[in-house]
Symmetry: C2
Subunit: 293 residues, 2 copies
């Protein structure tokens, strides 16, 4: 397995690679940031995802975390726990999606560990550099709230009987706007940023709790699929949630448009600690953690 | 769980900690090196290890990888996959051993991920800095071969009916000589270095293959428990294997002694590619990967 992973990374020039006790990541300008996500079969995915989709998603969700801090993706460490004997067809399909995402998000795998396990458990730890990390705790009352892209596609793919192609594609191979996150941070824009992995309802609550403020957002402003609960109460959007002062609005629009991304203003942070969706939040859909087993 | 891990790390001053999408590791002088190891219940441990031992070992085996490259341990990312509902007694015991090892090896946990999984699967990714990384591929014919410490204790604990206290203790809470590895590298000594995790037989083969040479070692010189097969063909020694030019011998002895470690010369690297133990290698004991399930 290690040889095949190594072969899939052969296009990357790395000073010390897979094979030594430790690997030497590429250096970069600014602060190193690291993030990590684990995917467990039966918990985080089922037969709706091909092995290649799983490989893609493992890289994409980690790239999303880096981009949402304003960090340029740089390297990844892979921990693969797979049943024995190895299902070669599964592994090769997985590797295809993994390698495609590694190219797309610029996250070469420089090391890791492979072990046997009754269950497929995949962890990726990623590193990247940021000249200006944007934390979720730096939001201020009066900031405008923005989201990138189009929310609720994964929910549509998960719940709808006739999901759109775009929804199916995002659910299987999400493409988080890491370049937009980096560009916002490096342009000196924004106060607080994070990615939407558990849905706007939950993630906005986290941003507000960390920033010590509240929020008021408007359903008609939230871009995405038709059903409001899918847009705000499911997750796996992997879009950006950004708090930025009002005077940056024009510049943010221009920056996003120039890179081919959409940024939509959905409300604002408030002095009052309540986190309000005008008209009320829909019930949380069961999170993937609780229902997909 | 995250709160408890965070609380256990409260003594460490970290600029951006657990809670954001990504964490900012402490910086250090020299090249960043990262390493990662996964432990799966039933594969890498069984009831011989307490949960606290498992927590300790997860940190220790990763510290060992850093030290064997000459890198000062600096930070760790933890990926915990545990069954639901959470076994609180297991978790608290695990956390005790983990926190003790974090202190001992200076590897504060700065982030990670916790997920549900039918099986306990634990991954740790660690980072450290080295001003002079020592690879396993830099050995040269004529180099003397050295090992630190005392080999075969984990094998004794695993196989013996009456293992010594020292053997039991090393098997449960190994204490790899990371400080010695760092000191050797920073003193500009040695050509190639790695840790002994799979036994001298297998690991020396790897060092020779990577360095493009062979080796000749002598059983009577190999320090450790009485049985030769336990000393060379089991693993979990977490000691250093070092190749260094003969003229460094006195300095190496002095350096190790001054730090309270033992370094023993066991043979040399050869032009000829054969990897020879005088008198022949004992049969490999089944590795932990194959038999401890």
């Amino acid at each position: 397995m290690i040889q095949q992973i190594q072969a899939a990374m052969s296009g990357w020039k790395l000073p010390i690679g897979i094979g030594d006790d430790a690997a030497a990541p590429p250096t970069g300008a600014g602060q190193l940031l690291v993030s990590s996500d684990t995917m467990v079969e039966g918990v985080h995915w089922d037969e709706r995802l091909s092995p290649g989709d799983v490989g893609w998603k493992l890289v994409a969700v980690n790239a999303s975390d880096l981009g949402a801090m304003g960090a340029r993706p740089s390297w990844a460490m892979l921990n693969l726990s797979l049943p024995e004997p190895l299902d070669r067809a599964w592994f090769l399909d997985f590797l295809e999606g993994l390698a495609a995402a590694v190219q797309h998000f610029r996250l070469p795998i420089i090391g890791g560990d492979t072990t046997r396990s009754p269950q497929r458990v995949l962890s990726l730890t990623v590193g990247g550099h940021s000249q200006r990390p944007l934390l979720r705790s730096w939001g201020r009352p009066g900031d405008q709230l923005w989201v990138s892209g189009f929310l609720g596609r994964s929910a549509e793919a998960f719940y709808s009987k006739n999901p759109s192609e775009s929804a199916k594609s995002w659910f299987k191979r999400p493409d988080p706007p890491t370049k937009l996150g980096v560009a916002i941070a490096e342009a000196g824009l924004g106060h607080a940023m994070m990615d939407l992995s558990d849905g706007l309802k939950m993630d906005l609550g986290r941003l507000c709790a960390a920033s010590g403020c509240g929020a008021r957002v408007f359903p008609a402003k939230i871009p995405g699929v038709e059903r409001l609960d899918w847009r705000v109460a499911f997750g796996e959007d992997y879009e950006l949630l950004l708090a930025a002062p009002e005077e940056e609005a024009a510049e943010l629009h221009q920056l996003a448009g120039g890179l081919g991304f959409q940024l939509t203003e959905i409300g604002e942070l408030t002095e009052d600690r309540a986190v309000i969706l005008e008209g009320g939040w829909p019930e949380a859909l069961f999170s993937h953690f609780e229902t997909r087993a």
